[in-house]
């Protein structure tokens, strides 16, 4: 097979660590990202990460982003920005568009680290300006430094909903409520506590039923849900808001995997249809790997470890490291991943990952 030794699609946390891990073993890496700067979602994360010191605990996401970037540059990784990979053919050929020109790039190995996208939530009025993803609001405030609204309704109390609520408060907005359709808060207690003590109500068993406004949202109608998740009549309330943020989950951006013909498995704990992969992140197609949210929606910390795993596997596949070295490095990374996937939140993801890998391990 001819072509570049390794092409990585997506320069978020998983793509960056995959690039570093393989480059440090001598692999020639091409790292591609459609944005004008790498880092994926890391640069929006202005809160401190959990974990232990080796997992960057206490560091804010954007600091980690800058560091990984610098290291990639030092390692001589070729980074192509403003470059969209629009297709994958014959399992080893990528179609790119960069600077309005189409290019074809062949690769001996490909790691897809394209992340995930926010789920929509449809209700009357959801298409009005003033209804956006929670991640969108986060991009606006933390990257572009513009507040997209002043009185905000957050829909969803998972970690994204809770964290973005906190960040909206830090940006100077008022969050009038966080709605959660389930009877209990979805995200970490400590995130919920932070916003509660700032006076933000969390309304459980509650959902948004309509967004109203002429050319943009100025009112939201919310109502309570019964134990079956059905709207309870006569519990509607009106909220005066100018922005509704939807934080109702993420789904892997798996188009390239579909195109390539990868096998998938549906696992709701990981965000939906996940490309099946083995314990080295290789998919059902030889030479095609996945890492990060694409391989199951988790966190930046697990994305970084999975990127490393794929990088190690490719380094070995190209003959740069021995099988023994690969296995040693794999063990360290796996220990780390297992450690990150502990506790009541992590266990579900660990279980789902095990199912995924069991299905495909050689």
């Amino acid at each position: 097979m001819s072509g570049a030794e390794l092409v990585i699609v997506g320069a978020g946390p998983a793509g960056l660590t995959a690039a570093l891990e393989s480059a440090k073993s001598g692999v020639e890496v091409v790292l591609i990202d459609e944005n004008e700067r790498p880092g994926g979602q890391l640069f929006k994360q202005i809160h401190k990460f959990f974990g232990s010191e080796e997992h960057q605990a206490g560091r804010r996401g954007y600091e980690i982003g800058y560091e990984l970037l610098d290291k990639c540059k030092e390692a001589g990784v070729k980074i192509m920005l403003n470059t969209t990979v629009w297709g994958i053919f014959n399992k080893n050929t990528l179609g790119l568009v960069t600077q309005n020109k189409t290019k074809i790039l062949q690769a001996k190995n490909i790691i897809l680290a394209t992340g995930a996208s926010e789920n929509p939530l449809a209700f009357p009025g959801w298409t009005l300006p003033g209804v956006m993803g929670a991640g969108a609001a986060q991009t606006m405030i933390n990257i572009h430094r513009v507040l997209p609204g002043r009185r905000i309704l957050m829909v969803g109390s998972g970690n994204v909903g809770l964290i973005v609520t906190y960040q909206l408060l830090q940006a100077g907005a008022k969050v009038v409520a966080v709605l959660e359709a389930m009877p209990k808060v979805g995200g970490y207690q400590v995130h919920a506590s932070k916003i509660r003590r700032a006076g933000v109500p969390i309304l459980t068993s509650c959902t948004v039923v309509e967004a109203k406004g002429a050319d943009s949202v100025d009112e939201a109608i919310i109502c309570s849900l019964d134990s079956q998740g059905k709207n309870i009549k006569h519990t509607e309330k009106k909220l005066k808001i100018d922005l509704i943020c939807l934080a109702v989950g993420l789904s892997p951006l798996a188009e390239l995997c579909w195109m390539a013909g990868c096998k998938f498995k549906y696992l709701s704990a990981l965000g939906g249809h996940i490309p099946v992969h083995d314990e080295y992140m290789q998919t059902s197609i030889d030479g095609l790997y996945v890492a990060g949210d694409l391989a199951g929606v988790e966190e930046a910390s697990t994305a970084m470890e999975e990127g490393r795993l794929a990088g190690v596997a490719v380094a070995h596949s190209l003959g740069y490291i021995t099988k023994q070295e690969m296995e040693e490095r794999k063990k360290v990374i796996w220990d780390s991943l297992q450690f990150l996937r502990t506790g009541p939140f992590g266990e579900m993801r660990q279980k789902a990952k095990n199912e995924l890998i069991k299905k495909w391990s050689k």
Binding site: I46, M132, A136, T139, R145, V146, P148
Partner: protein, 107 residues
């Protein structure tokens, strides 16, 4: 209106950046050079970026990362420009787009 976050407890003070002028539906607006067009427009309180073909419904920013195309506008005659990922340049002419827009750029 000004929705700019000038001081931030974590991100610090907004850096001084070069200001440029954009023409938006005939009106002149200020922006920072190279920030996404959508950010400059959102800063002024603009909400409607385009209108749908059949029902003329308003659409604005939804994903903010160039995936959903709700924010497309006509920029310097070219329609379907994703304003949330397109850097603003001095003198750009931006218009609210109706439907799929028309290509008026001569090649």
């Amino acid at each position: 209106m000004n929705m700019r976050i000038v001081e931030h407890p974590i991100l610090g003070k907004l850096e001084k950046k070069k200001k440029i002028k954009l023409w938006v539906n005939g009106r002149q607006l200020e922006a920072y050079e190279n920030e996404p067009i959508a950010a400059a427009l959102a800063n002024t309180g603009l909400k409607v970026f385009h209108r749908t073909q059949e029902l003329n419904e308003p659409r604005g920013i939804f994903c903010a990362i160039g995936r959903c195309t709700d924010c497309v506008m006509i920029v310097d005659g070219q329609p379907n420009v994703r304003t949330c990922v397109t850097p603003a340049k001095n003198g750009m002419r931006i218009q609210t787009q109706k439907g799929l827009g028309k290509w008026s750029v001569k090649k």
